[in-house]
Amino acid sequence: MPSDILSFTDLKKYFVIGKKGLVQRTPITVKAVDGVSFSIKDGETFGLVGESGSGKSTVAYTTIGMYRPTSGEIRFRDRDLFTEKRRPQALRKEIQIVFQDPGSSLNPRRTIRQLLELPLRLHRPGVNTLQETMRLLDMVELTADYLPRYPQALSGGEKQMVCIAQALATEPNLIILDEPTSALDVSIQGKIINLLIRLQKEFNLSYLFITHDLSLMRNVASRVAIMYLGKICEVADAVEFFRTPFHPYTQMLLSSIPVISEEEEALKPRKIVSRGEIPSPVNIPSGCSFHLRCPHRKDICSTLDPVMVEVQPGHLVRCHLFGQPEQPPADRRATGAEAVLEEETARG
């Protein structure tokens, strides 16, 4: 049983986006991530799925340290990522990220060589940079000819290869892939995905793979979590997840995927007609945030937010349809998050 490389415990990240009220004192907050818990095992590809605005990128950015969590914790191999004010360099090199749009994540005024040398100088001083940059390019199936070129001379797929090489430069254990292929055409996508799978085997990497493409997820992830409006509604093994989705949102999601063959059509759950709009994250509905669109809505759904329950070993669902604990834990809402938030608001 492999151990956990990264674990999230009740992670919350709220943003204050303005003030309201008579004297402009009441903060308007966006609960981008609101109590997310899951863990990633060593060497696995953990898929995080959700539509835009569901908070999946906020989870990623918090993990690499672009944001500090409002409350909750993220542990990397049993080490809290946010104990120190500034994350130690030795820890920073362990977790790397590949962003969605390779066109805007590479500095257009640096050559590929300069782009690859920077992380080497920072994290691995003393290494032979030229030799190492060539080795990195080779790993992502690019030739040394690319070293003096600028990003604009590369195609989208090649740019993404360079971004992957950059992430590999620090010899990380965990790479966050934030929609690595959604800016690329399908004919290019396969090559990137297969490269990532090969690198994972070769260097025993763990991936947090973020995407909204469920068909792609089916082919790369070992476990999957579905996010909706800042919360996770279902976690399961990928195969299991696609065979028997439990949460009504997940079922709606899977039945809405446009597919290209009858064989796949047969794998989709019975058609659940999608209805309603995704609410704004500023104004999340009370109770279960999905209740307004849910075909199985009960009275309780609009008042009480369900908790995660393990329906089958390793398959967790957050829905009132699945045996909620008798006594809801006393006041789940008022945790440290509100306190921290008030403090932040007061400061600025």
Binding site: E51, S52, S155, G157, D185, V186, S187, I188, Q189, G190, K191, I193, N194, H212, D213, L214, S215, L216, R218, N219, V220, V239, F242, M252, L253, S256, I257, P258, V259, I260, S261, E263, E264, L267, K268, V273, S274, R275, E277, I278, P279, S280
Partner: protein
């Protein structure tokens, strides 16, 4: 059968005059859309899908664009030869377009009502009273099933969700009761559950109002769910045309086959490596078949001559020399 098609594009070429040369983007494309038909136009980024549709609406900036040849017949009349007054009657009233990104297509500083009313005024040549204009602006909002259309007129685009913005864009296109609707990537920037709603809406509009629709997309799944007939484009050429079920049952062109194989399947089994290489530069496109540098089955003739369309089924044509004498796909490329 002899009815005039609603849109008939014949041998259309579009070039762009840029610094350092000419980009030969569209290279003589043909396309026919019949009344009440739902046609898909598929291809990768930069293959000329949107360019061909913008040429149809005559909204390409000229220069740099120039159209060296071809005709675009809308209900029998050549759009390329129309004067400004005739164009006004085609745009909006004849053909309407729903653009790709609903957020970018709506002006953030005007209310939804102001923007739709502007379209109403344009399409009625300013003959209506204010009250009539407002009434005509509400009607399409009802058709796209937006809640509370009265109130919707006074909201700004930022107050709406992505799905609602897309509906507003569709409503705007419906204002003047067009006969042909061109939808550029409908719903693809949205969550799949919302995309599903938009596709269903388009489907219902076609059925109820007898519209013809062209859907531009690079998502094959969307084409399969929505259309009756598909045109596959590669680098400014049509490469395959077929009835939708026929194409998904048996794609013939090596490009279409590569594209289909590259789509990740819900049934699992890994992802194929895709198609090697990249779309050619339009400054000096490859001679002969533009796909030959990436084609696993390229032959000598492919480098020299541009293939014509060959019949491979009752409603299925392929522009590929492999099928000069009919025949089935397969053989060496089957892996």
């Amino acid at each position: 059968m002899n009815e005039t098609p609603i849109l008939d594009i014949k041998n259309l070429s579009v070039h762009f005059q840029v610094y350092g040369g000419t980009l030969k983007v569209l290279d003589g494309i043909n396309m026919v859309v019949k009344r009440g038909q739902k046609v898909g136009l598929v291809g990768e980024t930069g293959c000329g899908k949107t360019t061909s549709m913008r040429a149809t609406l005559r909204t390409l900036p000229m220069p740099p664009a120039l159209i060296p040849g071809g005709e675009i017949r809308f209900e029998g009349q050549d759009v390329l030869k129309m004067n400004a007054a005739q164009l006004r009657r085609v745009r909006g009233r004849g053909i309407a377009m729903v653009f790709q990104d609903p957020t970018a297509a709506l002006n953030p500083v005007f209310t939804v009502g102001q923007q739709i009313e502007a379209v109403v005024r344009y399409s009625t040549d300013g003959r209506l009273s204010r009250r009539e204009i407002r009434e005509r602006a509400i009607a399409p909002l009802k058709e796209v099933a937006l809640p509370d259309p009265e109130r919707m007129l006074d909201t700004y685009p930022v107050q709406l969700s992505g799905g609602m913005r897309q509906r507003v864009c569709i409503a705007m296109a419906l204002v003047a009761n067009p006969r042909l609707l061109i939808a550029d990537e409908p719903g693809t920037s949205l969550d799949v559950t919302i995309q599903d709603q938009i596709l269903r809406l388009l489907h219902n509009l076609v059925e109820e109002k007898g519209l013809s629709v062209i859907v531009i997309t690079h998502t094959l799944g969307v084409v399969r769910e929505l259309t009756d007939r598909v045109y596959v484009m590669y680098a400014g050429n049509m490469v395959e045309v077929a009835a939708t079920p026929e194409l998904f049952r048996q794609p013939f062109h090596p490009y279409t086959r590569g594209l289909m194989a590259a789509v990740p399947r819900l049934s699992g089994g890994g992802v194929s490596d895709g198609i090697p290489g990249r779309i050619p530069a339009y400054m000096q496109p490859p001679p002969g078949c533009r796909f030959h540098p990436r084609c696993p089955q390229a032959m000598e003739i492919c480098r020299q001559e541009k293939p014509a369309f060959y019949d491979v089924g009752s409603d299925h044509q392929v522009a590929c020399f492999l099928y000069r004498d009919g025949g089935q796909p397969g053989g060496s490329d089957a892996q």
